[in-house]
Amino acid sequence: MGYQFDFSMVIKILPVLWRGVIVTVELTVACLAVGLILGFFVALLRVSPAAPLRFVGRAFVEIFRNIPALIQLIWFFYAFPIVIGAQLSPFVAAVLGISLNTAAFSAEIYRSGIQSIERGQWEGAMAIGMSRAATFRRVVLPQVFRRMLPAFTNRAVEVAKVTSLASVLSVHELMYQGRVLSSTFYRPLEILTTVGLVYLVMIYPMTWASAAMERRMRRRA
């Protein structure tokens, strides 16, 4: 391979990549926040005693988890505006698509967490006169958060990666900047490699934290 590597322009493009990093972080935080909150309520539907509510929760999860995230993004940008009669900004469409996808996955994390709490915990609390709601809030949920922290961290890693799909809607995040720069400088090898490394630097700490938490929990168990 007679290719002449030239990483000299990487210094020049760093400010642009940095702007992309900022948008990627914004996307990740927004999608995680919306996804985790919405997912929590979907999980409540999933474990509800009322069958119709369970069905709604189940339908939500299956729809948004089984349709590829890329399709959801594109759908919210190009198709959803026809339904609501208003154009969404690329950023909002991306947040919507990724958040709903995240909500579906995190709803399943919450659900399995809630169902993993032993019946004895409910009984222990109810035997001192606590309501089901108080038991859920004071006894079950805190343990779900603890037990599911590694799974939620994994989800955060996935969301950070999935935000790169927003580049197809021209959201100016890291992947988008990388593509624009590589066609501007005709240096896809150097630039896209750099972009990949930037993702690695951003995401690896989260993966590491998740694995460390899992190890710690296994030791404690």
């Binding site: 004895g120 222990g124 035997a127 606590m130 089901r132 108080a134």
Partner: protein
């Protein structure tokens, strides 16, 4: 039978009348009548599958009975509805059951402590969430209860760091903190290593000295004899024999009871 509260001393604090419980087609309790007076200590004994745990769990509605009634201090629990054919169904509202459970405490075989709370937080939880006591007061009360069960030096320790016997004593303190009028023990030593049973039994006996009203389901017949004022021998979902501890253990009237007590090696005093 009267359903109005009778203030006279010696009136039962807790009664069951024709209590039934089925799980699907399996009839576990087939009509249990029970009278618990203040200060009574009742041991419920019987083989596995006799329904003794289920009976206990119906008394504080960890399970809802499928028939019959529970009467707490003269008050019928649940809303009875009489159908056109004269049959009666009782529905239970969570609010009513919560009120019962405040007054009828329970200690479980598996302790059921909250692992994310320290021992003192475990004991405070009911005082704060249910009885709405201020935190400082609740903590003080919880510390007293823990001291009473011999764990005054373990307030800020998490249950995971305690032995099974210590965990069960925390669970007893948690139940005591609510000042229950009746305390139910569901096989409190069955999941303990043999060397840890003694400390829990001693704690329970110390409550007997305070005149607490208690019901105990146990396999430890020797302990049941020392603990109980009255004994109920359940077999196949019915009360097969009942009497004072002396009567049932020393002079059982029915063959099945006699056989049950004789085959237990624990019953050696």
């Amino acid at each position: 039978m009267s359903d109005t509260p009778t203030p006279e001393a010696g009136a039962p604090i807790l009664r069951s009348v024709g209590l039934r419980k089925s799980f699907g087609s399996l009839d576990v309790l087939k009509g249990i009548d029970l009278d618990v007076k203040r200060g009574d200590r009742i041991a419920i004994i019987g083989g596995s599958g006799s329904g003794k745990s289920t009976l206990l769990r119906c008394l504080n509605f960890m399970e809802c009975p499928t028939g019959g009634q529970v009467i707490l201090d003269g008050e019928r629990i649940g809303d009875a509805r009489v159908a056109k054919d004269g049959s009666e169904t009782i529905t239970y509202r969570e609010r009513d059951l919560m009120a019962v459970r405040k007054r009828v405490g329970m200690v479980f075989q598996q302790f059921n402590l909250f692992p994310h709370m320290s021992t003192v937080e475990n004991v405070m939880e009911g005082l704060v969430t249910v009885l709405r006591r201020p935190k400082a007061e609740a903590r003080e009360r919880a510390a007293q209860e823990l001291a009473r069960v011999g764990l005054g030096d373990k307030l800020d320790v998490y249950p995971g760091r305690l032995s099974g016997g210590q965990q069960q004593r925390v669970a007893i303190a948690r139940a005591l903190a609510m000042d229950p009028e009746v305390l139910l023990f569901d096989e409190p030593t069955s999941s303990l290593d043999p060397e840890l049973v003694g400390e829990v039994l001693r704690t329970i006996l110390s409550l007997a000295e305070d005149g607490r009203t208690m019901l105990l389901v146990t396999h430890e017949l020797g302990f049941a004899y020392r603990f109980a004022t009255h004994v109920i021998y359940l077999s196949d979902g019915v009360v097969h024999e009942t009497g004072t501890a002396e009567e049932v253990f020393r002079n059982p009237q029915r063959d099945k009871t006699r056989a049950f007590i004789a085959r237990s090696s624990e019953f050696s005093l």
